[in-house]
């Protein structure tokens, strides 16, 4: 039976973009964060599983990872939330000039973090192929590094976009807002990983 349309609401006056959970891509970003978060959770579970097989952690005669690079990384990434929040606010306010200043700053911070991360790998005092302990802390560090790297790539693209005509489209502000949200996930995930890599191997000797 062909049904005749009975017109009810007119939706043409609805906005054509929205921030936060009203935006479709927000759900995509959240979905991605849940997936990656689950992945992190499972690696952390594997970490505790391997730890339960050991008497000492880090297993003797290994030294725990050096604290300097890791703590420096932690401080920088936690402080980076300040410009990150400024980015988020500017995006919500659709403040293009502010974003054109702040996004390159976030790119620079990302690059600096990756450099510090290189020093961290050097300071682990164990190689990934030595034993289960070495394998799991390298795994944790590599996984987190890929997230820093991909978010950096995303920020680079956004910074470039904001300098073109696209910068004036409202949807790009939504994208920037969501990228800043994702950065929060990246440093929040780092906190437990930092403790697992640098502090637990000092506590069970």
């Amino acid at each position: 039976m062909t049904r005749l349309p009975a017109f009810s609401e007119d939706v043409s006056n609805l906005p054509d973009h929205a921030f936060g959970y009203r935006s479709l891509t927000w759900w995509g970003v959240i979905g991605f964060m849940v997936i990656e978060g689950t992945g992190f959770g499972l690696v952390i579970a594997a970490y505790f599983y391997l730890m339960s097989l050991e008497q000492y952690w880090a297993p003797r005669p290994l030294d725990p990872p050096g604290l300097v690079a890791g703590t420096l990384f932690t401080i920088v990434i936690l402080l980076s939330e300040i410009p990150n929040t400024l980015v988020k606010r500017a995006a919500n306010a659709k403040d293009l000039p502010a974003l054109r200043r702040l996004l390159p700053l976030m790119v620079a911070i990302g690059v600096a973090l990756l450099v510090i991360r290189g020093f961290e790998f050097n300071a682990l005092h164990v190689l990934w192929y030595s034993n289960g302990y070495g394998s799991i802390i390298w795994a944790l560090l590599i996984l987190h590094t890929t997230h820093v790297g991909t978010d950096l790539a995303d920020t680079v693209v956004l910074a470039a976009l904001m300098r073109t005509a696209h910068g004036e489209t409202p949807r790009r502000f939504v994208d920037t807002d969501e990228n800043a949200l994702y950065w929060r996930f990246v440093w929040l995930a780092w906190i437990p990983i930092y403790i697992l890599i640098y502090w637990l191997p000092r506590m069970f000797r």
Binding site: M1, T2, R3, L4, P5, A6, F7, S8, E9, D10, V11, S12, N13, L14, P15, D16, H17, A18, Y21, R22, S23, L24, W27, G28, G31, F32, V34, I35, E36, T38, G39, L42, V43, A46, Y49, L50, L53, E54, P59, W128, Y129, S130, N131, G132, Y133, G134, S135, I136, W138, A139, A153, V157, L161, A165, H166, E168, T169, P170, R171, R172
Partner: protein, 648 residues
């Protein structure tokens, strides 16, 4: 501020919107232009239309089903007689590994996701999936993963250690060659594809439902899609992780699973089964969604106990994550811990038992018509429940320790997977075939195929319970004479050929009906949900106007007209977002146009993944092309001359 294109004077054309002024064939012509894709081969490759991608998924999955089925027939020929020599041990081990891996990763999950991709937008009343290009990308990842696995099989580096590929057998010391790497990397492809589709489905269901379709008014199939997709999101990272750890052990020498260097083989099993158990419910729950839809339509009443069915889906989805150790009862973990998993494994049958009650109650209080889809539902109940009950048996540790890794288990999981997923799938294909193609499948041939597969299945798989109880372990390429295994194996082998014949008849029915089936209108079955409100097959744009609903069974509760909202753009792709719980109209968002970049990205990712099987440097060098392809994919198109004033 009015957006301007660089250098050109902005020509502001009036924005066309659908409504009382623009309706009927005039509207349909313009919508067709906006929502169709370029003709030709490149246009086909660049398609982002969910109906086209859903069909691709289904056909590709059926192709893999046939390939895995042929392997099964080959194995059954070998096992028909004791001490047979049709397949030697090496070939047989490859056969059961490829059979299991293909069925689980390349058929069962993709076919369910394919149907979900096809049906979800038209069931919730929208024009496209939430992330159309991501869906296109997922299909290509799935296809490339499947082709990689089978290329490996034909080139003699296919996996041969069983579909779960346990360490240390699959590890660097005993897993010689690239076989386990091929397995692990195929997993990576299919898991990326499945996760991407799952996120897309969740976003579509939460944000794009028709106005008025509150969560409590969604079709049960949409609920099952939502629950399944959330299960995918929480379980698939485990298999991605474990296959990654395995590749890492094999390629760069990590020690995750090496007991000599502070690793543990059981870590592999825990991570694998943390995924593996929810996986089977990821396959089963969409099938229960099919059953609910078919039972309602063919009983001519809404499903009895809608809230109970929904809660059962959610309950099963959650409980499924707490059962995985029941696959490890023989590994010597503490017995007191096992008791918890026995209780949980028993408990998970409660929601399913309630769903079965609701289906039967629907039939009882309805006016059932025994057409082919309904026959498959009956076959499903009669068969799946046997599998579920054998599952109760093996939930008990003392019983499982005898029948674990024997043909009793093989019987159990085929009863729940074929009875519980394939039968509903065949019913669903028959049911929605008219919507996909505009024609009906042959009822007579459908009847014959149903009875053939139903009876053939019992003949093939029931005797396996006996074979297991008489001492036949799994994954053996032969068995000795004189142990009483000859008769059950012979019956199983005969039955398997009957099943193959039935599947062939079903496929012939699908193919022949495409040209010669009776033509079908929008709603040949007199069903209740929104997909039956549009033409068969639906146009590119799904619905001329976005429908609004007021009940769970819109097409039964409305008279001759269909309430619709209006005001969406016609000259550009625009979707209506509604709020999550009450589905009131909220935002208009653009929908992605066809693009070749998902395919190029998938190729870049595939080259990186496949290369990494041979050298870990591939991951480093592959990152650049992948990054470029992804950037091109997401690069926004310039605002066109139709740009409208901003609304703030």
């Amino acid at each position: 501020m009015t957006p301007r294109s660089k250098g050109r004077a902005t020509k502001r054309e009036p924005v066309l919107r659908d409504g009382p002024d623009l309706t009927g064939s005039d509207l349909e012509e313009r919508l067709e232009k906006t929502w169709s894709r370029p003709r030709g081969f490149i246009g086909w490759l660049a398609s982002v239309d969910h109906k086209e991608i859903g069909r691709r998924y289904i056909f590709t999955a059926l192709g893999f089903l046939a390939a895995a089925g042929l392997l099964a027939l080959h194995m059954r020929l070998q096992l028909m007689f004791p001490d047979n020599d049709i397949l030697g041990p090496s070939a047989f081990n490859e056969a059961f590994t490829m059979h299991g891996t293909t069925m689980m990763f390349l058929f069962a999950v993709p076919v369910m996701q394919g149907v979900q991709i096809y049906l979800t937008p038209i069931m919730v009343g929208t024009r496209a999936m939430a992330f159309p290009r991501l869906t296109a990308f997922s299909y290509y990842m799935y296809l490339f993963g499947g082709l990689f696995l089978w290329a490996g099989h034909f080139l003699h580096f296919g996996p041969d250690n069983g579909w779960f590929n346990y360490v240390p057998l699959s590890g660097p010391q005993y897993g010689v060659g690239k076989r386990s790497d091929a397995w692990a990397q195929t997993i990576t492809f299919t898991e990326v594809a499945a996760l991407a589709v799952a996120v897309t489905l969740v976003a579509t269901i939460f944000k794009q439902r028709a106005p008025g379709m509150t969560l409590a008014r969604m079709p049960i199939f949409v609920w099952s899609t939502l629950v399944t997709s959330l299960m995918v999101v929480f379980s698939m990272p485990a298999i991605a992780l474990v296959s990654g750890l395995l590749l890492s052990d094999r390629l760069v020498g990590t020690q995750f699973f090496n007991p000599v260097e502070h690793g543990d083989p059981l870590l592999y099993q825990h991570l694998f089964w943390f995924f593996g158990h929810p996986e089977v419910y990821i396959i089963f729950l969409p099938a229960t969604g099919f059953v609910s839809e078919i039972v309602a339509t063919f009983s001519r009443r809404t499903i009895f106990g809608y809230p109970i069915v929904v809660l059962s889906l959610v309950g099963t989805g959650i409980l499924a994550f707490g059962l995985w150790v029941h696959h490890m009862f023989a590994t010597g973990l503490p017995r007191v811990g096992y008791s918890f998993y026995t209780a949980a494994s028993m408990a998970v049958s409660i929601p399913t038992g309630l769903q079965i009650f609701c289906w039967i109650a629907t039939i009882w209080d309805g006016r059932p018509r025994l057409q082919v889809p309904m026959l498959y539902v009956i076959g499903f109940i009669v068969t799946f429940v046997i599998g579920g009950l054998s599952g109760i048996i093996i939930a008990a540790v003392p019983l499982d320790l005898q029948v674990h890794d024997t043909y009793f288990i093989v019987a159990h999981f085929h009863y729940v997977l074929i009875g519980g997923a394939v039968f509903p799938l065949l019913g669903a294909i028959t049911y929605w075939y008219p919507k996909l193609t505009g024609r009906m499948m042959s009822e007579r041939l459908g009847n014959i195929s149903f009875w053939t597969i139903f009876l053939g299945f019992q003949l093939a798989f029931f005797p396996m319970h006996i074979a297991g109880l008489m001492g036949m372990p799994r994954r053996v390429y032969t068995y000795p004479a004189g142990m009483g295994l000859e008769l059950p194996n012979m019956l199983s082998s005969i039955g398997s050929f009957v099943v193959a014949l039935a599947v062939l008849m079903f496929v012939v029915n699908m193919a022949a009906s495409f040209r010669r089936g009776e033509r079908a209108g929008p709603d040949p079955w007199d069903a209740a949900s929104l997909e039956w409100a549009t033409a068969s097959p639906p146009p590119w744009y799904n619905f001329a106007h976005i429908p609004a609903v007021e009940s769970r069974a819109p097409l039964w509760d409305l008279k001759d007209d269909l309430p619709v909202v209006h005001g969406l753009r016609v000259d550009d792709r625009e979707l209506l977002m509604t709020s999550v719980i009450s589905a009131s109209p909220d935002v208009r968002e653009p929908s992605a146009t066809p693009s070749i970049w998902p395919l190029i990205s998938a190729i870049a990712v595939a080259v990186t993944f496949i290369g990494s099987v041979f050298s870990p440097w591939a991951l480093v060098f592959g990152a650049a092309p992948v990054g470029i392809a992804l950037t091109a994919w997401f690069w926004p198109k310039l605002p066109g001359p139709f740009a409208e004033p901003q609304i703030t």
